[in-house]
Subunit: 393 residues, 2 copies
């Protein structure tokens, strides 16, 4: 094929205000109404939480008003909840299929901050919000069969409920699971090396649904101190991939060799910093761990983990062999304003020009195809229609 | 000169049980007696804290008994408190001068866990312990003039007291300041971007005493969960250099261009991961910060920061240009068991063979000479006697 098959392993979906109501169990409708009021400018209630949880990062650029305006003015962004519009826009951007995370914009987050910090809203409501979002998402993805791999949001305070939700997600055709990255430091949930989470790892492995963390809210509350706006994005990547070593060192990857884990929108140049350091502990001062972990950190990584690159410049391209060309997927981050849509081909050309075709194919499509089990027979004909030609990248 | 002048920018000093008593204000002598009881095997009281704070990392290798035994059997390690023995042993290891951190071993930590987590022992006692340690250290360093750059331990709950201690340290001939890396996440002290710390930054700049963080206790309490032994060293580096972006983004380096900061025994390969990411925020999505910070993160780093490499293998050597050859210092970690003593020359040869002489001189001696203001006229003749020959590295 003279074109690339590009799969974006980082897209976002969600329906605006009120759109989750029909997917939400009726006993929570009153709370949903109250929750929605928080979105309205001037009422304040959740506005502050929103800002603490991510809005503040983008400062004035992503206030609710301007974001909403941008969505309209750009004639786009509505692909967050309109499946036909979405497919049209991502195809025009050279992409054949997508992996879908929550939080298309501040206005269509999963209800009750379901995908934010555990406990940032009452646990029971966060869990109900996750179920509603997942039902909506399964519906949304079913409108474009085989093209949209939706990831189920799980909350992790009630492990038994999380397990049920993962099993439901599998039945409903969702293609992976996203869990909150932040536990342990604050709140009342222990770190991910605690045995209480074991059934979650077991169920992801059994159902073959890859587990994800996505950059976002897994940071402490900086309390609006000087520089917090910049400290948030400096640290949020680390907090998002921190579960890697809690799972790895506590033997989760050893016990569940079929568990796959993907680290999304958190950069990838941390991989060649952290893995060699972990390997050196494994082979050096802490080599007695080899009695319980027969593989080195790099070997578990190689067997079970993936990381999504953004390829916004040449940094990740230059580091790709240290990260692993077969470990990298890519995402356009549609419809986020910081994403590469609608200029993904140009962005990828700037970053990847000169990379061998085989490697480009792996990082932009083949690896994601394998991780999520997309159907090649379905996607290749589409790629031959919408994918960029080899010399365009 | 046909030999290298090697300065170890990472050594440890401390006097064993009871040795701080004469340096401790008498009103704390009773608490000191109680505190010391905790060290005795079997009593338990502080033993557990000790293990949480670092002992657990090394597992059975560094129980108090075996550590004490090793000190005796190896005929070394007593250089932690014997200045003549110390100089003899480090000279035999090719080194002409050292920078001294606290905590020579579990048995001679600064009293009352003064250099551990803020609040891990009552604040007032930690501060008294820091003062006692600093007095002892000033005495210790004065026995080998110009050879030992002692770093004052400061506690940071009482900022005014910290400022007085830094001023005292300058008068007493100490050559830098070490502060706890861990604030904000737990305990009652805010993150380092809080304006309350401003007088500390101002005083370090005025006195020209470089500020340090050292790898160690700046980690959360993992509660003994599976894998915690390995999670601790995986994370402790990050927690130790985390103050970098709190100070940088909140404008501390901008307001105090003469403030120098050194990050010790926490690896150095994180530098070419983190700085480019921070630069890209500075030049990209968050470029409005340029109104208050005229320099980019890399430019502040270049002007004011240093990092100590360990050169245990070739990883840091290969990454040196990304880190900055003029930003790297090195330490033997004497008398710690995980350090390179008494095989530093061989260790450095294995890591640095083939690196141009000029670069080797910078990383092993010249950079540290500049940071700490060692006297070249004093050290060069010693180097021409004890330093390794050029072809030995």
């Amino acid at each position: 094929m003279d074109r690339y098959m590009i799969i974006s392993a980082d897209g976002h979906a969600g329906v605006p205000e009120g759109g989750y109501r029909q997917y939400l169990e009726s006993q929570y409708h009153h709370e949903y109404t109250e929750y929605l009021k928080g979105y309205l400018p001037g009422t304040g209630a959740h506005r502050k939480s929103l800002e603490n949880l991510g809005g503040a990062v983008f400062g004035k650029e992503v206030t609710e008003e301007t974001e909403a305006q941008k969505e309209v003015e750009a004639g786009g962004r509505v692909g967050a909840w309109d499946p036909d519009r979405r497919i049209k826009e991502v195809e025009a951007d050279g992409i054949v299929a997508e992996v879908l995370f929550p939080d298309g914009s501040l206005k269509n987050n999963a209800p009750f901050f379901a995908s934010s910090k555990p406990g940032s809203y009452p646990y029971e409501l966060q869990a109900a919000g996750a179920r509603a979002y997942n039902r909506w998402l399964a519906d949304f993805c079913s409108k474009q069969p085989g093209r949209l791999a939706g990831l189920a949001v799980i909350t992790i305070h009630d492990v038994e409920a999380a397990v049920s939700e993962i099993q439901w997600a599998k039945q409903a055709g969702l293609m992976g699971v996203i869990m909150p990255a932040s536990v342990g430091d604050s709140g009342d949930l222990p770190f991910y090396n605690h045995p209480r989470y074991e059934p979650i790892w077991a169920t992801c492995a059994e159902t073959a649904l890859p587990l994800h963390t996505h950059v976002g809210s897994a940071v402490p509350d900086y309390g609006g101190l000087p520089g917090a706006r910049l400290i948030f994005p400096t640290e949020s990547s680390w907090f998002s991939h921190r579960p890697l070593w809690f799972l790895l060192w506590s033997g989760v990857f050893e016990r569940y060799p079929k568990l796959k884990m993907v680290f999304t929108e958190q950069g990838s140049t941390w991989v060649p910093d952290i893995l060699p350091r972990m390997d050196s502990m494994y082979h050096g001062l802490f080599r007695d761990i080899q009695e319980t972990l027969p593989l080195s950190p790099t070997e578990y990584w190689e067997r079970q983990c993936f990381v999504s690159a953004m390829f916004r410049d040449r940094t990740e391209r230059d580091a790709r062999h240290g990260i692993g060309v077969n470990k990298l997927v890519w995402g356009s981050d549609y419809p986020h304003v910081e994403g590469s849509w609608p200029h993904s081909v140009k962005t990828l050309h700037n970053a990847l020009e000169g990379v061998p075709e085989e490697e480009t194919r792996a990082m932009l499509g083949e690896n994601a195809l394998g991780v999520y089990g997309f159907d090649r027979k379905l996607l290749e004909p589409i790629a031959s229609r919408v994918g960029p030609k080899i010399d365009e990248i």
